[in-house]
Symmetry: C2
């Protein structure tokens, strides 16, 4: 009996990753654990990729539909993509190898709102789930599973799959028991009830995942780290963005539009987001709570200093330094962190009820406040929409942030027309670049254009944007609600493709 | 004492529309009742417009910010727009005169999700509300107000305005008492609780609106009809759309993805929506419920035949024939209809919990499933997003419907790239035209394109769309997730502007 698999039934299923991978067939839909490089299976994907390579070497097809929580890691998404073994992928990806295959047209990618992924799977939108491959920390004597460093869609995959493969990862601290809150009262309409969460710090479910032991066809023991997320130190640009944002929150509090301890914070993943968290840590704000997707290093800092008193999320997303710090002080974090299913962490009902302050990055925004979070030059997907739509649409207040230029100034993040729209003009409250902050609340499209160009565009592009608006405004005197020159609206992007500079 | 104003305090405030209009000043924000031409004030707007005309004749400015539930009528929005008295307008408009002023750049229009309009007003996004002008059916002895044929944002306007003007409309049937459900437990975060609605037929609030009588500066008695909505008989095109949709719902039930009595229906306003309702009436479906914005004639038909057992909405939107039918049989409808505030009728929490089937019209969709509901050729606003985003994003299943062409074939409703995006590719489940139905669930963008072109595009445009996709797909081999030719993506719209034909 393994120290981590103390369930008598499940301990009889302990086997190798290779034997487990044998149970996955060409054409299967496979639901894997994993969110922001945390809690994904470490061994079965490699064994499965080896089978795919072997099959392809013999001229047989071996490709699966791969569903996850969100992004995984090179040793999951990456290795399967290298084996050309992914036919369909949902709901989110950030792996560079897989991204290349999506953009080459090899992989069908369904880029979905994360709050939609589990429920729409129950509804039958994505087809049948054949196999679940889920990392856990331990299987208890009664068969309950201690979840790992992310919860994601694990509840749903375990529940819906015909066959379940568990990976029990001895590298993950056994002390993770108690960090999770898995809500088991979700139902299909017309049987749904209110989700009884009114405070981000509250527990509404169980600390454990459940699985029908009869479905568990393999248990694989591993000892391997999560993918490390690499953060860079905040640079001047991201610090300027953070400073504008924190200053604006202070103004909102002063204006009486927000409590002094703010409202629950959601923060996207990345360097700009981390800089914003650092900016909050350096601000007078205190006693904050987070209702977010991912706990990254910046949130750990805030928990350490006490600026943040609680974080609700669905996953960790830490650097190796962050992981060490978390592990060394794990008892300090227990009771201050809860990981929930992504259907709960991102639920519109809860985001709206709690009045979340949503802070997310973007690729570009147009002068009317439409935001592109997913596509480079209209066609190539970067990562995916993730939870940004769940949070932004339902937030009390939302921010979209980006440096005002990219590629050394060759690309403007403020463009005449977004080359792809993920967040519409109806959904975007505040844009922030290092140049400044544009508060768009209550403004008409033309008023937004003036403000965005003035406050957020890089000076190098400001005149050209103003020139565009002015000419568009004159061009069609009976169509001045959202003035556009349709033969020029996307010309900045086309020029970049043609010349390498907008 | 008036028969309809039996509240002693309020009866002392009875006055003329002209005297009431004197209490509204240049620069005020005015919150008026009204939704889909129902329940808007009938007398004060005209008196106010006369004051505006007089002021303008003397060279003084007189313009207001006008906030409503949604659309009103020629004798409210229209008459104020004709007086050039509207400076800012939110959250929805369908009046042709006002539309012209918005598109000429005279009026600042904030086109907002209807579920956002009241809460964001409480948050302070739109500024201070000076005056409310709200039509009611009666003021009871205890000061409670019997709401009229729409509830809209009336609860919020009455609560938030400094001064309140009531119009008591004797034309509206006194028997409307009991048709309303006004929820008074909404709060600002962090004090929000779950909204306790789990069944569209349930009552969670009061039949009455409340107002602080000290704020009521005028009570004006009127006797005037609501604006009549004119519906045309379903033509072949809308019948074909309805037939595809009803057939699809039958398939979904047969596949076990939906109960036999479906899930709560939301139906947009208009002739296509009415045709769909007629199609449902002619189908084997029975025992249905609606959780929607507007009760239009088609819903009355369904209630009459028993196909629909209950309708929850925020407003009526009836033809004159429909109004007569409703009035003659008002007792029959009582207990089968509830009108709620639009913050409740459209609430994401409820739409998602109940699992609504959302059916809305559109202006155009692109081949990747992005939907434009608001803008003609990218710049001129038509009406507004209304509740379509509230319902579509959170629906169990959503449909967007349109004839495949407009203007006698000169415009294709299926285009390479939408000239404005209100519902993103992440949010759109099913497109329907008279040509057929495209089920986009679980498809990647390129797979959607194939299906939309095949099933929904008009044959006259199909080859050109296929040609576009194929050339876009070849143009950038590393950007094939959502293939576009950015210098051609909007050329169909530009060609229409240049030549009158796409």
């Amino acid at each position: 009996m393994s120290a981590r698999v103390t369930c008598p039934v499940l301990s009889t299923r302990i086997t190798t990753a290779e034997a487990a991978a044998e149970l996955i067939r060409h054409g299967d839909n496979v639901g894997m654990s994993g969110f922001t490089g945390a809690g994904y299976p470490k061994a079965v994907p490699a064994a499965l990729a080896a089978r795919m390579h072997a099959a392809h070497a013999h001229g047989s097809e071996f490709r699966i539909g791969l569903w996850t929580g969100a992004s995984t890691a090179p040793d999951a998404d990456g290795i399967l993509a290298e084996a050309h073994g992914i036919a369909r992928r949902m709901p989110y990806n950030s792996d560079p190898v897989l991204r290349r295959e999506i953009n080459s047209g090899e992989v069908e990618y369904v880029d979905a709102h994360l709050s939609h992924s589990a429920p729409q799977m129950w509804f039958g939108f994505f087809g049948h789930l054949d196999v679940a491959v889920v990392e856990v920390v331990a299987a208890l004597p009664d068969g309950l599973l201690v979840p790992s460093t992310s919860v994601g869609n694990n509840k749903t995959w375990l529940d819906q799959a015909d066959k379940v493969i568990l990976e029990v990862n001895h590298w993950q601290p056994r002390e993770l028991e108690g960090f999770h809150d898995v809500y088991y009262k979700a139902a299909l309409p017309p049987h749904r009830l209110p989700i009884p969460l009114t405070d981000p710090t509250a527990r509404i479910g169980d600390p454990y995942l459940r699985v029908d032991p009869r479905k568990v066809v393999a248990v694989v023991e591993t000892r391997a780290p999560d993918r490390n997320t690499v953060f860079t130190e905040p640079d001047d640009t991201s610090q300027a963005i953070a400073s504008h944002l924190v200053h604006f929150l202070q103004q909102e509090v002063a204006a009486g539009r927000m409590p002094a301890d703010l409202l629950p914070l959601q923060s996207g993943v990345g360097n700009v987001a981390n800089a914003v968290l650092a900016g909050l840590d350096a601000s007078p704000f205190t006693n904050l709570v987070a209702f977010t997707e991912v706990i990254q290093d910046g949130m750990l800092d805030l928990l350490d200093t006490g600026t943040l008193r609680f974080a609700s999320a669905t996953s960790f997303g830490l650097s190796s330094e962050g992981v060490s710090r978390f592990m060394e002080n794990i008892d300090h974090y227990k009771g201050r962190v809860l990981l929930r299913s992504e259907e709960i962490s991102n639920h519109p009902e809860l985001v709206r009820r709690l009045g979340v302050i949503a802070m997310n990055g973007m690729i570009e925004a147009d002068i009317y406040g439409n935001v592109n979070s997913t596509h480079v030059m209209g066609s190539a997907v970067m990562n995916g929409i993730g939870g940004s739509g769940d949070f932004a649409r339902n937030a009390f207040l939302n921010f979209f942030m980006s440096p005002s230029t990219a590629k050394g100034g060759a690309i403007s993040a403020i463009v005449p027309m977004a080359s792809h729209v993920d967040h519409t003009e109806h959904d975007v409250h505040v844009l922030v670049t290092e140049q400044g902050l544009a508060d768009l609340r209550g403004l008409s499209p033309r008023a937004r254009a003036t403000r965005i160009i003035e406050r957020c565009a890089h000076p190098e592009y400001r005149d050209a944007l103003t020139d565009y608006v002015e000419r568009a405004d004159r061009a069609r005197p009976t169509a001045r609600h959202t003035p556009h020159l349709l033969d020029e609206a996307l010309s900045w992007h086309q020029r970049y493709l043609d010349t390498g500079h907008m």
